[in-house]
């Protein structure tokens, strides 16, 4: 149930960036641009995992590539990751 709520929130953020503050999900990030991570809507497990990989609030990253409908290529803390769309939708970001 909890998961549903989180996914739902991610989904909303995708469609309408929260008014005024320009927060949206990583799934909508454009290749080549730099962004800042705002929040991760995962459980403690996913949060810990992503933090260990360097996806942590306030961290700057850029998208180096993406396949249509498939995973994104994201560079964070000097390392490139392939990150699934479902996961990307749970990471809230903003432009810098």
């Amino acid at each position: 149930m909890k998961r549903w709520g989180l996914r739902h929130r991610g989904g909303d953020a995708r469609k309408t960036p929260l008014a005024g503050n320009g927060i949206f999900s990583m799934a909508d990030a454009v290749p080549g641009k730099k962004y800042r991570i705002v929040r991760i809507d995962g459980g403690y497990r996913l949060n810990s995992r992503l933090c260990a990989m360097g996806f942590i609030p306030n961290e700057i990253f850029y998208v180096s590539g993406a396949s249509r409908g498939g995973p994104l290529c994201v560079v964070v803390k000097g390392t490139k990751f392939a990150i699934g769309r479902g996961m990307a939708e749970r990471i809230q970001i903003r432009e810098i």
Binding site: S48, R49, G54, G65, S67, K80, G86
Partner: protein, 718 residues
């Protein structure tokens, strides 16, 4: 004069792609032992070195980003450090990516184990303009730091020296460097520690502060362990922890695990600010350039297909030659045994049972070696991760994980290592679905069966027919993956995150060790389990013995022919030919009389609706030992002396006996019914008895149903 040899255990830890394995290889060379951590299917590599009077056991921990309880690998690595208490933990760090790699180091520091940092790939770091003040950093982290260049074998001795130094100066406790998480979190840690002390919670081997941190991070593994150890008393701790988590979340507006991670990075960045300088070298990242092509939206998949195609060409074209030599060797060995061992059961056991069974498996070794070599090359160069990236969208659609395709590809070579390869999937559901459909990736051992049947029934279009079988296999895998996902293995698949490491030129040594390890695992299987099963199958096919119960007086017939040869009525060639025909008939009758033959007859009614007669059933049974054995069984059943390599006449015999529809149907059945015994043994090892039985049951049922449909529908058109 007993010179005291001191024994030391060191554990190698490090991020994936930090070059940990290279360091391990440099330290231990070929003296490695691959096993499993007790109770889990995580690979455990160990090696022993003798150095300056020390016997040093090196344990290669799984490569992890952290020591949380996210994956089995992480739990295994952590538990090894906590429970086995290695004398020293060496954390291998990629020097060109310090901030991220040192994250694991901070967690090891929290565990308060004797730690050495191996700053690996220092050459790459220096080249790209990074300046590291090793001395200062070592002081800030409170651990010795050794520089290494794994790819060129540099720094191994220095590392061992450091290990010995740490071990011999163990007594005098150096000042411990502690990562602090800020006032709020530290207060809560203090509170939890005092509750732990007040309630006298058995904190086992753990350090109280470490437990408190783990509880704030909501580490499942630790929570469960504590619950088990402290019983109902645990609720008090639970309340305290929940209170602390809520307090931290409300004040700092983020959950404790994020704040704590932030604290660790803060500590690292603080240290790096003082001891590390990055000069922009102005060079364009080569990896980035390669990625623009290899993971390109449009080109990505065609390039992937091309690379896999090249890999198969490499494996099968090149493998053909040594395979031929080994086959020839076994043939010669059979002849030799036939010459020195008198006719009888022992000779039959050696030649038909053991050489026939084990030899068949060993013959594939060159292919296996080349396949593993190619895979190691793709892995070590960094392409494998890209391939998973490129394939993720497609794999995701059929309910699999991007990484699933790796074991699936291996499955085309041999299903046994493919099951082993499924370990790369962290989520159990993902892993099991991938394993359950892997058998439909038609393995190399099935190819001889296809070659025989396609050649017999469709000589003009044999290639296309065989290709269609492979295609049906892939299709079945896709369908069954979806079915399994929707039924037995419901639930979300693991979120897909995977590091795309920089492209590197692999070291030959690393690749050879990789290849050898996996090949050895395969050969070991052939020598143990497959040997046992070959003997069992031989018993089934040999007993009860026919004695004098032949339907005709064959021995009399042979005598007659020999007589007519002696009297000059027929030539020697004619004699041999006629004798061979009779001996073939005898072999056929012996087989019919045996347990296997009886089982075949008994089961025939169940296979009639598929168009199969009892001979095909017997061949199917023999295929359980190893699929390619089907060919030699068919040979025996059709009374063709296989040793003379007359597979053309077997083809003719098959063509005369069966309709092409049945021939095709049998190929389909061979594709679908569960893989060989060796595969099943591996399946059980990886996934447990229950899953293995499910695999056997459902693939067999599927094979039956599919063949039933093909035969019954096909019959309407002929």
């Amino acid at each position: 004069m007993a010179k005291e040899i001191r024994e030391i255990t060191i554990a190698l830890s490090g991020n994936p792609n930090s070059g940990k394995t290279t360091i391990f290889n440099n330290l231990t060379g070929l003296r490695q032992h691959v096993g499993n951590y007790p109770g889990v299917t995580v690979e455990k590599k160990t090696g022993v070195i003798k150095y300056k009077g020390y016997r040093i056991n090196v344990v290669d921990l799984p490569g992890t980003y952290s020591l949380t309880a996210y994956s089995l690998d992480e739990i295994v690595a952590r538990n090894f450090v906590i429970n086995e208490k290695p004398d020293v933990v060496v954390d291998v760090v990629d020097s060109s990516n310090l901030e991220r790699n040192l994250y694991l180091a901070t967690q090891l520091m929290e565990l308060d184990v004797p730690l050495i940092l191996a700053f690996n790939m220092t050459d790459v770091a220096k080249k790209s303009g990074k300046k590291i003040d090793i001395g200062l950093l070592s002081e800030l982290f409170g651990t010795p730091i050794v520089e290494t260049v794994g790819s060129r074998g540099l720094g191994s001795d220095e590392l061992l020296e450091a290990v010995i130094k740490v071990v011999s100066s163990r007594k005098r406790k150096e000042k411990k460097v502690e990562v602090k998480y800020g006032e709020e979190v530290e207060n809560e840690i203090g509170k939890i520690i005092s509750v732990l002390k007040k309630e006298k919670v058995p904190i086992l081997k753990f350090d109280a502060r470490w437990i408190a941190v783990k509880l704030l991070e909501q580490d499942r593994d630790i929570i469960d362990t504590l619950k088990k150890a402290s019983g109902p008393e645990y609720s008090k701790i639970e309340d305290a922890v929940t209170g602390s988590i809520n307090h931290i979340t409300s004040i700092l507006r983020d959950t404790p695990e994020v704040i704590i991670a932030d604290g660790r990075y803060g500590f690292i960045n603080g240290a790096l600010r003082e001891a590390y300088k990055e000069v922009d070298s102005g060079k364009l990242d080569v990896s980035e350039k390669i990625d623009r092509v290899l993971t390109n939206r449009i080109l990505g998949i065609p390039i992937f297909v091309l690379i896999i195609w090249l890999m198969f060409q490499f494996v099968f074209t090149l493998g053909k030659y040594p395979m031929g030599w080994i086959e020839l060797g076994f043939e010669k060995l059979s002849v030799l045994i036939t010459e020195i061992v008198p006719q009888g059961l022992i000779r039959s056991l050696l030649v038909d049972g053991i050489i026939g069974g084990v030899g068949g498996v060993i013959t594939f070794t060159p292919n296996i070696i080349l396949l593993f070599f190619a895979i190691a090359l793709l892995e070590d160069s960094g392409y494998m991760a890209r391939a998973a990236f490129v394939m993720d969208r497609i794999m995701h659609k059929i309910g699999l994980h991007g990484k699933s395709f790796i074991p699936l590809i291996i499955g085309f070579g041999c299903t046994v290592p493919a099951y082993m390869g499924s370990r790369i999937l962290e989520n159990r559901r993902d892993r099991l679905v991938t394993m359950h459909i892997n058998t439909f990736m038609s393995c190399g051992a099935r190819l001889p069966v296809y070659i025989l049947f396609a050649g017999a029934f469709f000589p003009a279009i044999a290639g296309n027919v065989i290709f269609s079988i492979y295609l049906i296999g892939v299709l079945m895998a896709v369908i069954m993956a979806r079915v399994l996902r929707a039924t037995r293995f419901k639930g979300e698949s693991d979120p897909f995150v995977m590091e795309l490491p920089p492209y590197r030129i692999p070291t030959l040594k690393g690749i050879l060790i990789h290849t050898w390890e996996r090949t050895w695992m395969y050969i070991k299987k052939a020598g143990t389990i497959i040997l046992a099963i070959s003997i069992l199958v031989w018993i089934l096919f040999t007993f009860p013995m026919i004695g004098n119960n032949y339907s005709q007086d064959y021995n009399g017939q042979i005598e007659k022919i020999e007589q007519s040869y002696r009297s000059g009525e027929i030539t020697e060639d004619e004699l041999n030919e006629k004798a061979a025909v009779i001996e073939g008939k005898m072999a056929g009758e012996r087989l019919t009389y045996s347990t296997a033959g009886r089982i075949g007859r008994f089961l025939e009614p169940a296979f009639r609706p598929l168009g199969f007669d009892w001979k095909i059933v017997v061949a199917t049974i023999s295929g359980i030992a190893a699929k390619e054995v089907v060919v030699s069984t068919m040979g025996t059943l059709y009374s063709i002396q296989e040793a003379e390599g007359q597979s053309d006449s077997l083809k003719t015999a098959l063509y005369k006996h069966y309709h092409p529809l049945v021939g095709y149907n049998f190929m389909l059945f061979t594709l679908l019914y569960f893989p060989c015994m060796a595969g099943m043994v591996m399946f059980r090892k990886e996934a447990g008895t229950k899953e293995m039985l499910f695999q056997i049951g459902y693939t067999f049922l599927l094979a039956w149903v599919m063949s039933f449909l093909v035969f019954q529908i096909g019959r309407l058109f002929i």
